[in-house]
Amino acid sequence: MKLIYEKSQPGRRAGRPPRPAGLAAAEVPPELARSDPPRLPELAEPDLMRHFTELSTRNFGIDTGFYPLGSCTMKHNPRINERLAALPGFRDLHPHQEEDGAQGALRLCWELQEVLAEITGLDAVSLQPAAGSQGELTGLLLMRAHFAERGEGEQRRKVVIPDTAHGTNPASVTMAGYELTPVKTDPRGNIDVEDLRGKVDEHTAGLMLTNPSTLGLFDENIEEIAAIFHRVGALMYYDGANLNAVCGISRPGDMGFDIVHINLHKTFSQPHGGGGPGGGPIAVGKRLEPFLPVPAIVRDGKRFRLDYDRPQTIGKVRGFLGPFGVFVRSYAFIKAYGPRLREMSAVAVLNANYLLARLRDAYELPYDRLCMHEFVLSARTLKREHGVTATDVAKRLMDYGFHPPTVYFPLVVPEALMIEPTETEAKETLDEFADAMIAIAREAAEDPELAKSAPHGRAVGRLDEVKAVKRVVVRYLFDEHPDLSAEPAAAGVVEAPKGV
């Protein structure tokens, strides 16, 4: 398919901004004026619409089909939420509008804060972080502020993270200026408590933990773990990527966590838009509240206002109050369930366990327990016996009409396939997926080439990711654009995490 720039013709155009009659032209000082115009696309509107429609047909979303991308919680995105976010009172509201002209928006934010506090079992919420990873950074900056206030800022430099963690956790630790202390996973898939004990002391700032973990397992020793950290004055951070498993069933605050981030684009159904937007509110216990980002959204009787008078705040992590349109969608999603969020999580766990039961004989199951909202299989045996890797299984699933699960993650499982069906899939869909997975395992023995050459009949075949790294082409170069098909393929296969 051609790039939009390759469809461009000089002089063609779609939009024509109005120009009021009789308005005198304004002059840009010559030394500041644009010399060469940007080479933006020049197309008429019909061809623009066709271009983007054709692109959309080369993409797979939850609307297209089953999308069991582990740890990403790809559930149905209700369309009512889109309609509500597009109400002019929300969509066309200027963020600098005076408080009296934004009472509905402020009330919505305040109510969302309240429900997130109830769901997480904590006291105070900031909606500001733009995504889960920014929530992590914000949480770690809160830790820094907390210990600085206690005069322990220099002393507490270490943050403990298990080897099953998302890559964002260690990356956030570095961005916050902390040092990483890794901790192992035990044979049941819990944190190795013996390993942990030797690593937590008065130099520890805290723990970052996803619970249930990226193995889809609830840490059975969570109370003991919390006690180990709290005993030395350290804090507990909850990565909310897997909150979809436990809403209304178990709350991070009750597990002993002091700081939580919530991925609104996972648990609370903000559509992920091919990579964003997201939302990463954080909830904290009372003692961390003074450090939260400004402004705080507070209620005075019937009025809502922004409070900047927070002398101990860490500052701002993003513009304004955060991604407000995301709040509208996620709050509408939460209100559609109310207390029945418990049922949402219960069905997510039921669906995952059903798929696990159907697949446990066809693939290797490294941690043989009941799972929570997701589970991790290994294609190690298929690879050893038939040369069929996790990537091959993933690509072959496309031939069956499914989006693949997350692969090669978590890192502790070789040839990992991390499967999260979510609560919104019907049993028939789960059965069709299980049938496909079982068929692929069978095919691997009978005709391994089927998987190794997959996908078939898609817009493109398997792409040469190594070539893309060696020969970096990251924009269209017009007359000088290279013809990469004339250049040799690069050797090597990328077996890196895809998902999460």
Partner: protein, 440 residues
């Protein structure tokens, strides 16, 4: 209401396959002490119709830019968003996709991002762009990260005439990065290049906004030269809608160009979600935070697109990554691409010119003293209103006009100054109304 498909018959069959008799048994691993043991204290579930009514009530309590005649800007602008943007963004294949980890099923998003990266490079005159950042504030922190590692220096300079929220976010990120932040004051609404040169000694980068927060056109080439003299990376924070009429930062010596993308194709949405853009000279590509899409081929030689240079990123490099970013703002960046494609180079130039012409017309028509009379401006300008600006805002709003932003919120001493923004959506008649209200 419910978004679940489960029937009683399904439940029974599934429990049997799993080998348990109740759903409760699936939670056996949860210690008793951490179970909630009660219902969540939330209002009862609403039907779709009830949701619709409830959120309409909330929305009705907000005075949006269609309900008041608005001259508010200060970083977020009421530009026109064409219908084609809505149409493309509501395509479920884009809207409901995750990050494009599996390229064979994601060519639509990947090619769109590649086209977006190209558009941003064209606008800014840079070699490489990432797939978007969270907003126009966080991309400034990203630029600081690049500069710190490229120069080995630990000071960053930001002009005081840069958006206050951008400066606040840089200061929040700075301690974690091990950076010290120095601000250079404005002189009559603009930055003095000599003062900037002095501050830039031993700095990793110099961030300046152009047009700046007051709408003033900085002597941008001189500011970039001042930074280059000190071997600090010049970082220009620019308005995408200015780049049809204003020179591209890459053409006056900048190393990095960043900005808030909202004005180009995104609704105001009370501050988000929007997208930030981050573009740089090619030598910085391996230090860039965020996703980057690259071109490649499949085994048959067909052209295709993939997420590339991923060894910069958290899911591979973990604690050694250039950033923790995973989610970015793809859908909003796609809106930016659709918008810029709809305008084309001619349209972008026309929008910029019209905004600027309207602003000049408004300066004249309002007849109020300019706060910075010597300075050329783009689509926004600062006027002295002769009394506390917040009082003027209050009385104008009683007449249905939101006249602008109170600069004293961020700049002590400018309490009588109002920042007035003009987009192509405003008309000379509306400017007349503003003039009447401000004269009253």
């Amino acid at each position: 209401m419910s978004y679940l498909a489960l029937t009683d018959a399904d439940l029974e069959a599934m429990l049997e396959t799993i080998g348990v008799s109740t759903v409760e048994e699936l939670f056996a691993d949860l210690p008793a002490g951490v179970r909630l043991g009660r219902e969540l204290d939330l209002a009862p579930a609403m039907s779709e119709q009830e949701l619709n009514a409830y959120f309409e009530t909330l929305a009705a309590e907000n005075l949006h830019v269609g309900a008041e005649l608005s001259f508010l800007g200060a970083g977020m602008y009421d530009h026109y968003v064409p219908a084609i943007v809505d149409a493309v963004l509501q395509r479920g294949e884009f809207l409901t996709a995750y990050t494009p980890y599996q390229p064979e099923l994601s060519q639509g998003v990947l090619q769109a991002i590649f086209e977006y990266q190209t558009a941003i490079c064209e606008l800014t005159g840079m070699d490489v762009s990432n797939a978007s950042g969270y907003d126009g504030t966080t991309v400034a922190a990203d630029a600081c990260f690049i500069a710190k590692h490229a120069t080995g220096r630990s000071k960053v300079v930001v002009t005081e005439a840069t958006n206050p929220q951008v400066r606040q976010v840089v200061k929040t990120y700075a301690p974690g990065f091990g950076l010290e932040v120095v601000e250079v004051p404005h002189r009559d609404g603009a930055t003095d290049p000599d003062e900037l040169r002095e501050a830039a000694t031993d700095a990793a980068c110099v961030i300046f906004q152009h047009p700046n927060f007051f709408g003033v056109l900085e002597a941008a080439p001189d500011l970039a030269a001042a930074a280059n003299d000190a071997e600090a990376l010049p970082v220009a924070h620019v308005d995408p809608l200015s780049l049809g009429v204003l020179q591209a930062p890459g053409n006056y010596g900048c190393a990095i160009a960043i900005g808030e993308g909202q004005a180009a194709g995104n609704y105001l949405s009370y501050g988000g979600p929007h997208y930030g853009f981050l573009a740089a000279r090619s030598e910085f590509i391996r230090r860039m935070p965020g996703r980057i899409v690259g071109e490649t081929t499949d085994a048959e030689g067909n052209r295709g697109y993939v997420l590339t240079l991923q060894t910069r990123e958290q899911h591979i490099r973990r604690e050694k990554a250039t950033s923790n970013i995973t989610t970015n703002q793809t859908l909003l960046a796609l809106a930016g691409l659709v918008y810029l494609s709809w305008l084309g180079p001619e349209g972008l130039h026309e929008v910029g010119e019209t905004c600027m012409a309207l602003a000049e017309h408004a300066k004249e028509r309002l007849g109020l003293p300019l706060a910075f009379p010597e300075r050329p401006t783009f689509k926004e300008f600062a006027v002295r209103v002769g009394r506390p600006a917040h009082e003027v805002v209050q009385s104008a709003r009683e007449c249905g006009i939101q006249p602008g932003y109170v600069l004293g919120r961020d700049y002590p001493g400018l309490d009588d100054v109002l920042l007035v923004a003009l987009t192509e959506k405003r008309t000379p008649e509306e400017i007349d109304r503003l003039a009447e209200v401000l004269a009253a």
